[in-house]
């Protein structure tokens, strides 16, 4: 519906500007903040691609621990519904029902690892890559 540049292209060109032109020509605090800003744009860029796949995977993971539930189809309600389910999982963990030794503990660890891996694929893929080299994934 909108003319190009696409959202990807916009984020990419602004990130490139910060990295290629602002970072090398500034110092100190401004340079540091330019790096931070470029990194945040990179996160936004990755999130656009990965968000819907991440949501589906995470929703299924929570179903394994909390039982089946219908996922909303629009983005805004997904975020809300996911937070409600996550709060429910937090309550389950606090209650001790998922503690080490319980039937579901291994499933809990697997699901939590997948949830956090998804977050890091957006926020810090380099950390995941470094750990994969050490056999941690």
């Amino acid at each position: 519906m909108h003319d190009r540049p696409t959202l990807h292209e916009i984020l990419d060109v602004v990130q490139g500007f910060l990295e290629a032109e602002v970072v090398p020509t500034t110092t100190g605090r401004t340079q540091f903040l330019a790096r931070v800003a470029a990194n945040l744009l990179g996160q936004a860029d990755r999130e656009i691609d990965l968000e819907s796949g991440h949501f589906e995977e995470a929703w299924r993971g929570l179903e394994a621990l909390l039982g089946a539930a219908r996922a909303p189809s629009d983005r805004a309600s997904q975020r809300e519904a996911f937070e409600r389910r996550l709060n429910l999982l937090c309550e389950e963990i606090r209650s001790g029902r998922l503690d080490s030794g319980s039937a579901q503990h291994e499933t809990l660890l697997r699901v939590l690892r997948a949830l956090v891996r998804a977050k890091l694929e957006i926020s810090n893929p380099a950390l995941l890559a470094a750990d994969a080299e050490r056999g941690i994934c």
Binding site: L33, Q43, V116
Partner: protein, 340 residues
């Protein structure tokens, strides 16, 4: 405070403390301080009948007393640094401390040359020789810190009688988390369960620095460790807390395989600590305090991002910190599952 006002107020105090006739402030400039205080670099010429002496100092100027941001006052922190120096901890020498001349609590110490920025210390080739020396030097410094008599330092926060240090610290952190967290973090919930199932029984207490890590020490590229800084979180507690905090992943600045601060291995730090007279390091206590440390840093990221989320501070830096919680969640899972 305005730099000129600080310089004018401190000049006579510095002259007096250094036994000079007078002191001329040649330069004053702001350094990175922190939320609770300002740090100023002061270049000074001390004038004596025998001649002039150029000196460089750091003045830490605290927010007004009673602003609720700190556990103890500037004069107490100065007293703590003096006690640490007597125990053999490398710290900047305290020149003077007080409140009246500035109308704000402050203390002044010698400025020590060197690098503090963790990312540089861990990555840059020019610090390779220093990195090789740091595990031993920091192990020795920590053993000395834990020898400082806490009995004389009545202002230090300490656990209530009848509660173990680990229990008290876990309670404090969980209360903070419940108040601060906006979004659910199931890994943090799991970590609290794990901590409560693995509490060490330590009751004997020593001085704990509270923020002992790469990033809070001054390092010279040839000599290695010059001074231990940032004492505002000092308290009486379990010494293993300091050993484990120094190994928390965020303080490896990307050199993740080097489990002690990105400069060495945990085992090197612990061996140096034991050889320097520190008590035997119990691996299960280290595991507890390392989980605690990573969780503590995770909760701090939630505190910092609140400033942005609440709309109080429009800062890209704070916004970015919100997404660093996931790094601590990842490391917590690795620790709890015994993968690292």
């Amino acid at each position: 405070m305005k730099p000129d006002a600080i310089a004018a107020a401190l000049a006579p105090v510095l002259a007096d403390a250094c036994g000079a006739e007078s002191a001329r402030i040649d330069g004053i400039r702001s350094m990175t301080g922190g939320a609770a205080r300002e740090a100023w670099r002061l270049d000074v010429t001390l004038e004596r009948p025998s001649g002039e002496e150029a000196r460089s100092f750091v003045a830490l100027v605290f927010r007004p007393a009673g602003s609720g941001q700190r556990a103890f006052e500037a004069v107490s922190e100065a007293e703590l640094l003096r006690a640490a120096a007597r125990a053999g901890v490398p710290v900047p020498a305290v020149i003077c401390a007080g409140e009246a001349p500035l109308g704000r609590p402050f203390y002044v110490m010698d400025r020590i040359e060197g690098e503090t920025i963790g990312r540089r210390l861990v990555r840059e080739e020019r610090f390779a020789a220093a990195r090789a020396r740091l595990p031993r030097q920091l192990g020795e410094a920590l053993a000395a810190i834990h020898r400082v008599p806490v009995h004389d330092l009545a202002f230090l926060p300490r656990p209530k009688p009848g509660v173990t240090v680990a229990q008290a610290e876990t309670d404090r952190l969980e209360e903070l988390y419940r108040v601060i967290a906006v979004e659910p973090h199931p890994v943090f919930e799991l970590a609290f369960r794990w901590l409560r199932a693995n509490l060490p029984e330590t009751r004997a207490t020593t001085l704990v620095h509270g923020d002992f890590r790469i990033g809070n020490v001054i390092v010279d590229e040839h000599e290695g460790l010059r001074a231990v800084l940032d004492w505002e979180l000092a308290h009486a507690g379990d010494p293993v807390q300091d050993l484990a905090w120094a190994c928390v992943r965020s303080w490896r600045f990307g050199a993740d395989a080097l489990t002690f601060g990105g400069v060495g291995r945990r085992e090197e730090l612990f061996a140096a600590y034991e050889e320097a007279g520190g008590q035997r390091v119990d691996p299960s206590a280290v595991r507890f305090w390392e989980v605690f440390g990573n969780l503590n840093w995770g909760v701090i990221t939630l505190i910092q991002v609140r400033g942005f989320l609440d709309g109080a501070i429009r800062s890209a830096e704070l916004a970015a910190i919100g997404r660093r919680a996931a790094e601590t969640e990842w490391e917590l899972l690795n620790l709890i599952e015994g993968r690292v």
